[in-house]
Symmetry: C2
Subunit: 520 residues, 2 copies
């Protein structure tokens, strides 16, 4: 069958029954109460939760072959928890696990691939699997079912419906007390918001907090409460906060990126929604950080204050808050060490549940209130569909993150990307992997021009505002032609019939699949 973004998808993929993407908010499921696997405990009050080592905690949880384990990815490339836990599980001889972290960031020596090859893991669900694992998957790594990739907003719903039922959640925390109250906001290896793990803590059957910093009871601030925690384990090191992100508010000096960032800020400042109390999400990376700084200046010049920034936070956004240009920050993750530590320091920087951030099946999520969302992309096509997963030869270059959620939730969603990267065009006829439907993308900003999506719900408003501000726009086809004129028309990536990844949309439907890359 063909879904609403024109992708051909089988009705069933193994045991996975496909609900095809049917358009914005068309396929919202029947209501059913949320389910949790958390159990009232028989634990005696005085019983100690502090386990001598990871192995004891894993055994105490009763982890068995075939079960599901979860992690957060708040340490990104600095994570030292996942490999420690998987190594213990491997030593215990437990096999065939479903590995369901919020995301897999490039983990090496050993990599997750090694734990797949030795049979410890045979299924994977995450928002992204970039790095060695992703590349191995699209090249046909043997798993017992395709990887399910879900944007941040879809994961909590999958957990609450029972589609993703977690046996043991392992939660890394930079401070924890012996009863399991924990946080990522303080301690030598602070990673900031634990927003991804809230849903795991309340819904998993077993919850293990892993820390390198036991603090006296009670751990304050408390991000996750002891009431959800079964065991606490102290390890030598949980992660390296220097590798959380690029760090701080340093501006890029790349003139192309600066140009794109400036144009992105120009668009926001030109919008009628840019007024006292406006809200935004910019995200991580060179362009977003630069864009945040330009936006701060615009805000100061206009003599207004933004009401909230949402999602992943950077030092640049903290700086805007410190300058009084931004009243609050709803922080579901921390992209750098400055942002990680700021939550404990400023009362209006609030750690929020990732489900509160992006889950469209909640009684509402914060994205429903967002004016401007700035998004990165690997590719955009002439239908404004966005690819944030796969690179030019099909390799796994990114994760879904909250991109599809933000595009759908924000009044004005702005995709920023250069029209070419190296010799590869970024604006193309048809993206290799459709992650975000074009209908939810308002505008594409490149160094070669700005293209408005005439099919976006707020097109008329935005067009009028940009015209009034004298901001010129071009067609998306113009940008594609420019790109192709520099690179030539790209050769399509050839694939086999084997589906390696299922790409879900925020509503749980299938927006695309990734087939195994055919290598020469």
């Amino acid at each position: 069958m063909i879904n609403a973004v024109g992708r051909e998808i089988p009705e069933k993929i193994g045991n996975y029954v496909v609900k095809p993407y049917a358009g914005p908010r068309e396929a919202i499921e029947a209501e059913q109460p949320v389910c949790s696997r958390r159990k009232p405990s028989k634990r005696a009050a005085a019983e100690n939760k502090l386990m001598p080592d990871l192995k004891s905690a894993i055994q105490a949880c009763g982890l068995k072959d075939g079960m599901t384990i979860s992690f957060h990815h708040s340490f990104r490339e600095g994570d030292k928890i996942i490999v420690q836990v998987l190594s213990c599980i491997k030593e215990l001889g437990i096999k065939g696990l479903r590995f369901a972290p919020s995301a897999v960031v490039n983990i090496k020596n050993p990599s997750i691939v090694d734990f797949v090859k030795d049979g410890t893991i045979n299924r994977i669900q995450a928002s992204g699997i970039c790095g060695e694992l992703g590349d191995a998957v699209v090249d046909g790594l043997e798993l017992s079912e395709p990887v399910i990739l879900r944007p941040h907003g879809a994961r909590p719903h999958a957990i609450e419906t029972g589609d993703l039922s977690i046996d043991v959640a392992f939660i890394g925390a930079s401070a924890a007390d012996d009863f399991g109250n924990c946080t990522g906001q303080i301690g030598p290896n602070a990673c900031g918001s634990l927003g991804y793990s809230f849903i795991d803590s309340t819904n998993a059957e077993n919850v293990v907090v892993i820390t390198d910093n036991i603090v006296p009871f009670p751990c304050v601030p408390t991000s996750i409460s002891q009431m959800y925690v079964d065991y606490v384990v102290k390890v030598d090191e949980i992660g390296d906060p220097k590798k959380i992100g690029a760090g701080a508010t340093r501006m890029t000096k790349n003139p192309r990126d600066l140009l794109i960032a400036q144009r992105c800020a120009d668009i926001m400042a030109a919008s009628r929604l840019f007024k006292d109390g406006y809200s935004f999400q910019t995200g991580a990376g060179a362009i977003p950080v630069a864009c945040t700084n330009y936006l701060a200046d615009y805000t100061e010049q206009a003599g207004i204050q933004a009401s909230f920034a949402l999602g992943g936070m950077t030092g640049a956004i903290v700086e805007m808050h410190k300058r009084g240009l931004l009243r609050s920050m709803l922080c579901s993750q921390s992209f750098d060490a400055v942002a990680a530590r700021a939550i404990a320091e400023y009362p209006n920087i609030v750690e929020i549940d990732n489900s509160m951030y992006a889950n469209m099946f909640n009684k509402s999520c914060a994205l429903d209130k967002l004016n401007f969302g700035v998004l990165g992309a690997l590719e955009v096509d002439t239908d404004f569909n966005i690819n944030i997963l796969t690179g030019s030869s099909g390799e796994m270059m990114g994760g879904l993150g909250g991109g599809p959620d933000v595009a759908d939730g924000a009044d004005i969603s702005i995709v920023t990307l250069p029209i070419i990267r190296g010799r590869i065009p970024s604006v193309v006829d048809k993206v290799f992997t459709c992650c975000t439907p074009g209908s939810s993308v308002a505008v594409v900003v490149t160094e070669a021009g700005i293209a408005l999506n005439p099919k976006h719900k707020n097109y008329e408003m935005l067009k009028e505002d940009l015209d009034a501000a004298g901001i010129k726009t071009v067609s998306i086809e113009y940008l594609r032609d420019m790109a192709y004129s520099l690179t030539g028309v790209p050769k399509p990536v050839e694939t086999t019939d084997k589906i390696t990844c299922i790409v879900e949309y925020r509503d749980g439907t299938v927006i695309d699949v990734i087939r195994q890359i055919k290598r020469d």
Copy 2:
């Protein structure tokens, strides 16, 4: 049948199947996953949650005859929400509701009795029903089943098991935004912690936030997230914070109360558990406030710092925190206006879920870490059983509150009371209503002496410590004899066979029942 505190209780009371109290931690139920009635929502993102009035919100929730509604009691006698909501429900002609607030505090003109008599309410569950309602109940007010009285720790478990399944939770908040993020910490009518409502918000099918103070999105601090809220209603006034409690840190001048408070602090300071990092709960009222002040002085003299105070907070405890004698406060309710506003002001004063505070079926609750718990009582008997509900002629004088939970959780539980009140003895042969089993009471402190419970788990330790400090003790029988010598032996309260209230213990078993009072 006879339960473990010697109370005669039928095996069934109407449809209610009695699980008799079987002793401390003897009757813990089989494990089963927690259940929630919260449903993923079909609400469109842009749909407004702000309803024009209470009636519209009640109708939007689909409230029907026979359903269950809930409230918190954080405004205590200053509450202006419950009557407003019940009046609307009455006007809508909805009948036969189960009324399940965290507690009923004396509400007058109209009182809850009026809503029972007109058929709006026909069942009641709460931690206490003191005031007109309680008196009417023990005098035989017609309800379709006995009132179920549960201590604070038992209510969340009853909700999570589905025994108390809530159709519509009405949550009063002193600040809320139009998407339902709300708090009791700020605004003109701040009531402080919304700790009682957390469980309602996550488990009720419908949640209505009622405020007199709509703030710009996002409401910061956020105590309850929009993700759990269906509707928001603005009313003229939600409550009168001056009536939350006696207010501030004013010391009583009653020499008897000061003596009891001083002795209570003496006992804590004499204990080997009184060392750096100790923890306590003192509670509200004249004796607890005075006791907190004495304890603060002892702490200063010893050059130590308490790690946390737990439960209901007063200005006296805030003062101790400000003096640097107390590192943190885990606040499930705020007993006065000072404590209500302090949460937003001091980062180490933390608003906690009442379930985190006291629910023994959690993976742990904060009470499990408590060293000293100070409790009030209406009566204590020679088995150390405590009555915190009924007065000398059977009238409803108090609520269970967290008393039974604290007694069980604390290492040293200290009951403070005068041996007589007016011409009525407080130390008796047998309490009229057993709320807290004597086995969980370590010591009774009166103006006439201190009695240790030889059957308490920590008797030996405490006896040794008091002896070492030269603190004299007497037997509980001595205190009873003293009381009786002043008042004469009290005439037992006569009752009919009709059971008006079922008194549950924190583990969900039945510790006692209250029968209808026989009036002349």
